[in-house]
């Protein structure tokens, strides 16, 4: 019994890493500009579509470089056309604007790149690896593609952490996140910072899109994984990069385990037409966490004054 459960756990953790990757894009933008960017999922789709179609015509490296350029151009367009014109608006207005951007990107991406299912061949190994064969009969199965995704994600988080802590731009980003006005008054150009942050989260979206695309194929449903990243976000806290990672792991593992352990019980007790509790379990799990810690696991403590 323990073997399969452990296997599910590991599979869940690997999926969780991919959720974290999407959630990371949300966190970067929320931290730096207070925008709840619902378009992150659409950006993942758009980036993955660009990469998939470009890689059909040219080598992977070139396609990657071009996709990076496309995502930077997109960040510039969003900053110039939308954000700059909505400065000082309430959070909910900015949120709706990103919903509009999400619709636009979904339509735009599919009109220029096509709306079929595309494959991303990253040349990742596909043969499953078995570990701990001495402990469990038959060993535990691990998908090497997921393992590589996890490693890439870990590297990205490290790079981002170093970028935020050490570089000049990173410090400016943190300053903006702390206090817009104070940052502006010491001469940090807000527009540049926002452009930078959207570009970086565009890159994160590209990597996430490549990983998800390699796993599921590039298709419209990719934009829906944004909905899966939301519970990760509230669990970890909107403003915390480590939160996004830990939240992703908890949600990924939690929902897979729930599907295996809890769903059969629910089906038997309530006579259900099938399980599929993955869709809401993550949200309910996050909700329960929130009742204990309203700002998420690692979010900044909310201090309210009249």
């Amino acid at each position: 019994m323990l073997g399969p459960v452990l296997e599910t756990l590991i599979g869940g953790l690997m999926t969780g890493v991919l959720y974290s990757l999407v959630a990371l894009g949300f966190v970067l933008i929320f931290k730096a500009s207070g925008v709840f960017n619902f378009a992150q999922g659409a950006m993942v789709l758009f980036a993955a579509l660009s990469f998939a179609r470009l890689s059909e015509a040219m080598p992977l490296v070139l396609a990657f470089a071009l996709s990076v350029l496309i995502m930077i151009a997109l960040a510039y367009a969003i900053e110039f056309l939308v954000l700059r014109r909505l400065v000082n608006q309430e959070g909910i207005i900015l949120f709706m604007a990103t919903l509009g951007i999400a619709y636009f990107l979904e339509g735009f991406g599919q009109s220029i790149w096509g709306s079929d299912i595309y494959k991303i061949g990253l040349g990742l190994p596909t043969n499953p690896i078995f570990i701990l064969e001495s402990v469990f009969p038959g060993g535990l199965l691990i998908d090497p593609a997921e393992l590589i995704a996890a490693i890439i994600c870990a590297v990205m988080v490290l790079v981002l952490a170093v970028f935020f802590q050490v570089t000049r731009i990173g410090r400016a980003l943190r300053a903006v996140a702390d206090d817009h006005q104070a940052a502006q008054s010491v001469g940090i150009p807000l527009n540049h910072i926002w452009l930078m942050v959207w570009a970086v989260s565009g890159l994160v979206a590209l990597v996430a899109g490549m990983m998800w695309g390699a796993k599921l194929g590039v298709q419209f449903s990719l934009s829906l994984i944004a909905l899966k990243a939301l519970p990760v976000l509230i669990l970890g806290g909107f403003t915390s990069i480590p939160g996004a990672i830990v939240g992703g792991l908890i949600i990924g593992a939690g929902e897979k385990l729930a599907e295996v352990l809890l769903a059969p019980v629910l089906i038997r007790t309530f006579d259900l037409a099938g399980g599929g509790i993955e869709n809401w379990f993550a949200y309910v799990l996050a909700l329960v966490f929130l009742l204990v810690r309203p700002q998420g696991l690692f979010g900044e403590r909310i201090i309210e004054r009249v």
């Binding site: 909910i92 919903l99 509009g100 709306s115 909905l227 509230i234 869709n279 809401w280 004054r305």
Partner: protein
Amino acid sequence: MLYREVGQFKTSYGADQAIFPIAQDRWFVFALIAFAFLAVPLFAGQYLYTEVLIPVLILSIAAIGLNILTGYCGQLSLGSGGFMAVGAYAAYNLALRLPQTNIILVFLFAGFMAMLVGILFGLPSLRIKGFYLAVATLAAQFFLEWAFARVKWFTNYAPSGSVAVGRIELFGITIDTPAKIYIFVLAMTVVLALGAKNLVRGRMGRMWMAMRDMDIAAEIIGIRPLHAKLSAFAVSSFYIGVAGALWGFLRLGSWEPLAFDVNRSFQVLFMIIIGGLGSILGSFLGASFIVLLPIFLNQLPTWLGIAMSTATISHIEFMLFGAIIVLFLIAEPHGLARLWAIAKEKLRLWPFPY
């Protein structure tokens, strides 16, 4: 010159607190309601009824509901689709199991069930705020969607998972033609909208607005957050539940849980943002805008004489929809209701603007 309150003296407290204090407003609203009841059936055709008028009216009720919660009480919710589903399935089950029930009672029951579920999912709002709450309400959306797809009792063990309603009858009259449906929906909308308008003008509305503007300050002056927030969730879910039941019974006829998915929640949210947060009128304007925009975008290529494949059209529709939403937010972030208010302000001074 025409729109001016000069000379309209208020001589009683009742007159001072009237729902439309300015005579022109009052007459305009009366005229509009009379027009909708009497004149529209004279010229409206099948298409206008089923694709425009009925959806606009039903979704206006849902938008009023969400506006009470988000616009007046400040609790951002993405669970409207789920609450609409509660209303629709509650109404379906009551009509199925007690077929003799009056249809009005069925819709009220739908509202009450949605209200109970709404209060339950509103409980976290006492602890969670802002976008955290918005994501938490998505839990309601996904859980409810799942429950109606999986729990067989709700769909009366239908193998396909979709449910259909039978004949709808009110006082011996069968509501079957679009015209009758329209009149019925219109009557419901007028009653519910007037109710909401009065609710937000009164003690309760003040309480909600204080909560929205600053919850701690409201608490200090003696407004109980539990009472204020949960009553907003209750009233809002009631409206959304009734709208869901109307949508299922009179717009769709037969439906699956997919009809009330998260896109429906976003649609209703778009309506109140475009229409105007904290405005009953805005709910109507927003609902009209969001229902009419896709119809318009759909017809556009035909009018322009451009031949396109349906896939391309739907992608371009998505693009234009997103772009128009963004443009709109940039041009007027406070919604259509604000434009209306500005127009009225201008009209008061016209033709001498100084």
